[in-house]
Point group: C2
Chain length 322, copies 2
């Protein structure tokens, strides 16, 4: 592949001039500019971003770590991130850990070797792995100790909103399926839900679940409840399926509420009532905060906790919290 020297030779100028022309920085005359453009086109020259990165000590790459790439919540987030990154002249490098701490460590190692300018880590599992990383890191959804920036939705309030519905409709037997304890978001969703119910003298049972397999065959358990709050839509969809398999009518026999508002939650039968997050805002803000850190600007003030909203669809009997 052609390099900058080839272009310079073809255009009959020095390499520095070509460099200035490409980055349109410094002086370059109209006439010479044309010649260079021409040479670039003829040679199909693409500046080598790697060589540039070595010199400038900035790769213009942002590394993003998500725990599951088949879960639309994470991928929708990554869309917001990629768009905003591209808008600011950065490229996104996405890596999926499949919830494996080992993969997370490997990814971080890889990111460091490729000299990404910053990292956005979503729902991190293996927080020690970030300890000696010396590029800016934004943690989404979970608090990493240290001086990094953490942003997430107001998960606690999301739990409260769901509890409000339960209280308003005076539903007696309630189950929560809680996410892994290592996730702050999972803990907050539960405590918000529980605290609000307990304040009204109500109780809630709780079991833990992460993947679809964790709820397989629990139809008998579900039958004991009238209302289930599931910590994530991904899992709620599995729960809904279990209800179907067990012959439970939703929302007639049992009501279900999820969390995340992923793409497919609109498509279930019936469509899933869920707590929606400002997912695009979070992704975009994460990038802006990160880039401010990378470029050492004073960070524009952003939210730490993003608003959530209860979206009523078909898995609840009532369609309002009033």
């Amino acid at each position: 592949m052609a390099n900058i020297r080839d272009v310079a030779k073809k255009a009959g100028v020095g390499i520095a001039t070509v460099s200035r022309c490409i980055n349109n920085d410094g002086y370059v005359s109209e006439e010479v500019g044309k010649k260079i453009e021409q040479a670039i086109k003829e040679l199909n020259y693409k500046p080598n971003a790697l060589a540039r990165a070595v010199f400038t000590k900035s790769s213009k790459m942002i590394g993003v770590i998500i725990p599951s790439i088949v879960n639309p919540f994470y991928t929708e987030l990554s869309i917001g991130i990629e768009n905003k990154a591209r808008e600011n002249g950065y490229s996104m490098v996405l890596s999926n850990t499949e919830y494996l701490a080992g993969n997370e460590a490997k990814t971080i190692e890889m990111f460091q070797r490729y000299r990404v300018d910053g990292i956005i880590a979503v729902d991190v599992k293996h927080s020690e792995a970030y300890d000696n990383v010396d590029v800016p890191i934004i943690s989404v959804g979970k608090e990493i100790p240290g001086n990094l920036k953490n942003i997430s939705s107001d998960n606690y309030r999301g739990g409260c909103l769901v509890a409000d519905y339960v209280i308003k409709n005076n539903i007696a037997s309630v189950l929560h399926i809680k996410g892994p304890d290592s996730l702050e978001s999972a803990r907050d969703r539960f405590t918000g839900f529980r605290d609000t119910l307990v304040a009204k003298g109500m109780t809630v049972d709780c079991i833990e679940g992460m993947y679809g397999e964790d709820v397989e065959g629990i139809g008998a358990v579900l039958k004991k409840y009238k209302f289930i709050f599931v910590w994530s839509d991904d899992l709620a969809i599995s729960v809904l399926n279990e209800c179907f398999v067990s012959g439970l009518n939703v929302p007639g026999d049992i009501e279900i509420v999820g969390f995340d508002d992923i793409y497919y939650s609109r498509k279930t039968c019936p469509p899933l009532t869920t707590v929606s997050q400002k997912i695009t805002d979070i992704g975009e803000d994460a990038v802006e905060i990160l880039i401010d850190k990378i470029e050492k600007k004073k960070s524009r003030r952003k939210n730490d906790n993003y608003d959530v909203e209860l979206i009523f669809r078909g898995t609840t009997k009532k369609c309002t919290n009033e």
Copy 2:
């Protein structure tokens, strides 16, 4: 961040020795090796993959282009790709075009600047964009003219399998919802289905659809049919939802079959009958073929067309093709 010179100084050896030690190539004594390892650890040194890439003219990155990152079919494929790539010492850089030809062109430009060693393009939309790219390219799912390797499932046969079910059960009114005409896979699924039916003197109606919005509110249309074959699971899930909204019982009033066997098709109510692809095989083989090309080995012979299978779940009345 520490560089190789710092490590050499700390260990009291030359740079070349450190390099040899890292790449364990050439002679390095036990004793000196230990000292270098120690220095690397103390300085938290990570070899600069960019600088290495500049010199070796190999970035060890594979660029992957998919049209939609919220569609689990593409992300599941990317998992196979990433695993195999990692296994062979390559990193995957994933880019999502959101079905936009403009994004596809931008991505290819980006991949070239970052000097990826090869590209895997899935269901390409803008095939001219690949014309002057001079790294190996594997096209998955669509034929790109030129001398690149194209691999995909046996989509035609998938269509035939579904038709066999229709014939066996003597279903009268049949609709196919076809994917975009620009996709070879979409065309093949349709022609396989139609050819088989027509050979038995049956007929099939056909409409085109891509995104969920394309089937919104078509309940009235659906009511006219007893069987619908949808070109992708992603869309079939939307169709199933439309049936629910319109009060059609599946599979009682109408039967539905999808294609792809994505993660969520197991979770619908009822679970979706679908044509399953050897998705992991395809991803892994794509990488192997690509790496063989990159490293100029003679390519191990791989399939061009991967086998498909009809998986019976709940959206069909019968659970067999016998």
